[in-house]
Amino acid sequence: MSAVLLALAPPWLAAYLIVRWACPLPPAPSRTLFRSSLATGLALGLSSLTYFLWAVCAGPERPGLLVAELITFGALAAAFGRTMLPSPPHPLPLSPEAGERGVRQPNRAALPGAFVFVLLCALGSAGWYLIHRPHGNWDGWAIWNLRARFLHRGCEHWTAAFSPLLPWTHPDYPLLLPAAVARGWSYAGEETTFVPRLIAILFGAATVGLLMSTLTRLRGTSQGYLGGLVLLATPYFLELTTDQYADVPLAFFYLASAAFLEIQDRQGGGIRLPLLAGLFTALAAWTKNEGVLFLAVTVLIRLRVGVRRWRELAAFLVGALPVVLVLAYFKLRLAPVNDLIAGQGAQATFARLFDGRRYGLIDWFYLVALVSIGPGLAVVLAVYRVLLGGATGRPGHGHTPAVLALMLAGYAVVYLTTPNELAWHLSDSVHRLLMQLWPSALLALFLSTATPQEVLARPSPHPPASR
């Protein structure tokens, strides 16, 4: 166990320094949580890349990985550490939380108290799942941990993981999660279930921490607590985290990309934030095929902003490039053709696209899946949004809602054209797809909703009558 944790230290340190370099935040209580959450996901993403590249260059279990990683992460840490780069010229503005001291706050004790209660319940549930299901849920062992076993056990046969003889394992899926697990086993010296369980819980915790700290940074402490509270109280989010699937890691990278670009749109910050947004967006593509759609959607939306601020768009693309190159190598040299693409043909695809019943079925499953989050949480949040009203102050460019809308549309196109039986395909995946977007949807919701403090500060519509 200690070897696994020690092996995470060098990439985590390098990742933390990269994040610190990119986000020159002024001191605030949420700063450490923000940077630590991002560093955790980035460390797992970067170390999966080093493991994969080592596998390609030398073989996955060949000696020398430790030395190669120490050199790589040491160089990154040195490059992004304070000593070798000038400090950022324009630190980001103060967070709203900095001005909250002494301000009258409604529910001062209620929100932190409720958050701690929900956190304890969530820890209990997650611990229960992890103890009673050490290998994860079905796809956890049958797809993701199986792939990790191929990498870890395969030696010169590690590419057998991508055999077209195993179509049910989706051999074209990218390798962030399996490579991170196999790397952990490599350092542990055994295939302990501790490694995939640790990675699962790290991604889940990082997602909650990132949502809370981003909302706190942009909208204040109460919004941070509320966002974290709702995400932790989402039963399927906890279950999916401990299932050891790649959906929660993907949700983390979606959220990180959205967080960077929302901060950029609201508070500026030069080219460093979009550079890192590009890196995290590309890591989503390195996690699951849906991440490739996310990368395309994000680029499309940034084009709208980027025409005026082309340097930011260029920085985003430069940040994404290294991971995209690795992904392209994997897709072109190792992975078989995706089953959904292989199952297309001009005539069959057109027939599916013009079948009206498929549209109705997809809409119905979207609606049912949305309402069943919780269940009923989406409805409660809609009522909450109406009761509290819209946010005041400087809005962003609506980046995250636009991404969410296009992602839902993109998923709908995949369902429309799927060669699989549509109802089965929807029932098998639509809940997971919505959960990938759920943390980003909560970010968008709480960014656009008035905080309790803002409601308190509003002039009353019915002033007391003077006597």
Binding site: P134, L146, L166, Y384
Partner: protein, 132 residues
């Protein structure tokens, strides 16, 4: 804060707390997740194929025949345990693994094969003699 907003915040907190507590209580009381499923994965992982695993060359394609009442799950578990071999259903490859579950009435067989090793508990590894 207006009454509406206060109701909104309180409602959201109560809803979130109820969901979180409900999930914990439901899991503990109902024994979710299914422990039988987890025990089965652990049993396959540590014991079921232990008697034959050392005869399976890494990367080799191995056939798999079973009479398990849930053959897909049994096949996926076999692949999970025996990676980096590539396990395919049927008797096509040179090596064929027979996973004979006692609870089924029909006995799975590998036709025209020589028994390479009986791994016990219904697990047998067969090999095809000579080129096909």
């Amino acid at each position: 804060m207006s009454r509406r907003a206060r109701a909104g915040v309180a409602g959201l907190i109560v809803c979130a707390a109820s969901l979180a507590a409900g999930q914990l209580v439901r899991n503990v009381l109902a024994g979710e997740p299914n422990e039988h499923e987890a025990a089965l994965v652990a049993e396959y992982d540590t014991r079921r194929f232990a008697g034959v695993a050392d005869l399976l060359p890494p990367g080799e394609v191995v056939g798999y025949v079973t009479n398990d009442p849930e053959p897909t799950r049994a096949y996926y578990l076999a692949q999970y345990v025996l990676a980096p071999c590539i396990i395919v259903r049927g008797e096509g490859p040179r090596l064929v693994l027979v996973d004979d579950r006692p609870e089924s009435e029909e006995r799975p067989v590998a036709v025209d094969r020589r028994l390479l090793r009986d791994g016990g508990d219904g697990v047998r590894l067969y090999v095809r003699e000579g080129p096909r």
